[in-house]
Symmetry: none
Subunit: 286 residues, 2 copies
DNA sequence: CAGATCAAGGAATAAATTATTCCAATTTCG
DNA sequence: CGAAATTGGAATAATTTATTCCTTGATCTG
């Protein structure tokens, strides 16, 4: 969490003096960055030493450290837009604020998602996808769309992929899985009953199961051999399903790009597959 | 331009001492932020005063100002990823570089997309979607997934929506359109033949056509009543279809959120629809 | 080539900022 | 009510930054 959110959260539990200092910093991070401890103290009518102590109480070694943290937090303003620390999208928000919050929460979930999966686990995933006889993608609802998107991309790379948006068909397909196959299961909650049953069946048949779920402990997670995580912005309920989908797409896009990197002839495949489609395009006029 | 690029550019014209200081800062901005002038000087074997003078020669009032600028520059790296301004993803790129480029290009297309559509045209679109008897969504390939995602969201709001991933079905449906309906057509190229034909048919039947295409002139654009734009990163060919899809999603997400804002009882609808789905979730264990 | 001029850069020092200590005033809690 | 803890400021110590001054060496000039 950013310093500013942290300060804001602790504000209520603080002594009056500290609260004033904290509020000033949260409200005027820009000014704060250019003020010395003495100047900041003067600004709010407190003593210079209080400011130093404030920094230390927050766990920073020095006032300078606090400044660095604030500066970094400000940079993340895209992530937690201007001042709106509790940034769910509200009914009263104007157009520009909504834009900022939307893009901010999307960016945040992307960043957190790539941060949540170690390079080690990603490269293990790549090996599995790379070595699989067939890749079976499952997911229901919004996750089904992500699965399909990913399946299109994998097909462009010439992989053997299977996905259907109907979960009964998915289940039927799953009964043909074997140890050389990989099941790639997407569910943010990790609790979608159809996806879970399919994963259980696949696991029983010796198929490697890759689960893409939220960070919480969940049933799907538990049957999986490889656990990938997507981070969505759960607090901001209204945009929740949006960021969960974005997080899944970020992860699958990343896997796709890394597969392209690994596969020397990937460009040919992608190019051919795109060229094939152009016969369905109208003449593009200038 | 960021301080770091500026320093880097001037490096050659600098006195040897300054050059050393500049190079250190460009190479280790993170360390630099935590070093005092004296410590930085010691690090590269120069005098403390040189460091101060270096800051002043760059036009900053103080060493602290330079630090602030560096901190800010580091932050902007996210927005236009690390030095790689023309940053298509290359075969030789390492894992962290790929992450940065991927998120960077996604962010860029989102930002440019929201910037490309004026508030005026967006609110006109909202009125149309709001007043439509039925909303017909069309798109093929990757655009079809976006259309479906948007259709799910509109359904959650209780709207009358129609979408099928099969373009023949889409066409058949389109023949039932009337003047009170709205056709929402997605195609980044604006030249997908099926989508175009459907839009033409709709236009002939007096249906309002909203087109979501790239910024270039294109056939779909020309038959549309309302033109919305998505900006994708065309230079970076490899990630092109990724950012085109992200741009479309950003736009449809934005429209969805704004519709929610307009509709007083939206939360009830969304909540009910999500509650209905939870019966298909397994017990979530702790 | 000698001497003047100037830029580079360090040492010393002045100025400022930050951190610590100590203490008085309040609040909290038994 | 009184002891203990907390708050927060004044004074001061320590550190950091900025300026001044000076040496060195390079360059220019007559």
């Amino acid at each position: 969490m950013s310093v500013l959110s942290r300060i804001n959260a602790k504000l209520d539990g603080m002594a009056p003096g500290d609260r004033e200092i904290g509020r000033y910093i949260v409200d005027n991070p820009d000014q704060m960055l250019r003020l010395s401890t003495a100047a900041l103290a003067a600004e709010i009518g407190r003593s210079q030493s209080s400011v130093v102590k404030f920094s230390q109480k927050l766990g920073y070694a020095s006032y300078q450290e606090l400044k660095l943290a604030v500066s970094e937090a400000k940079a993340q303003d895209w992530q937690v837009p201007a001042g709106v620390i509790h940034g769910s999208i509200e009914v009263g928000d104007g157009f520009p604020v909504i834009l900022k919050k939307l893009i901010g929460s999307k960016l945040l979930s992307m960043q957190q998602t790539v941060a949540a999966n170690s390079e080690r686990i990603i490269s293990r995933t790549l090996e599995l996808l790379d070595g699989a006889r067939r890749i079976h993608l499952v997911g229901v609802g919004a996750s089904s769309l992500v699965a399909r998107d990913f399946s299109y991309k994998l097909m462009k790379l010439g992989r053997n992929v299977l996905h259907d948006s109907d979960s009964h068909i998915q289940m039927a397909n799953a009964s043909t899985l074997g140890p050389d196959d990989v099941l790639f299961a997407l569910s943010y909650s990790g609790a979608s009953i159809e996806t879970l049953r399919i994963a259980e069946l696949a696991a029983k048949r010796g198929t490697t199961v890759i689960a893409v779920t939220g960070l919480h402990d969940n049933p799907l997670n538990r049957v999986a051999d490889i656990r990938l995580y997507t981070i969505a912005d759960e607090e901001r309920a209204r945009s929740s399903s949006i960021t969960a989908r974005d997080a899944q797409l970020t992860l699958t896009d990343l896997l796709f790009i890394l597969l392209v990197q690994k596969q020397p002839d990937a460009n040919d495949y992608v190019h051919n597959s795109e060229a094939a489609v152009t016969v369905l395009k109208a003449e593009r006029s200038t």
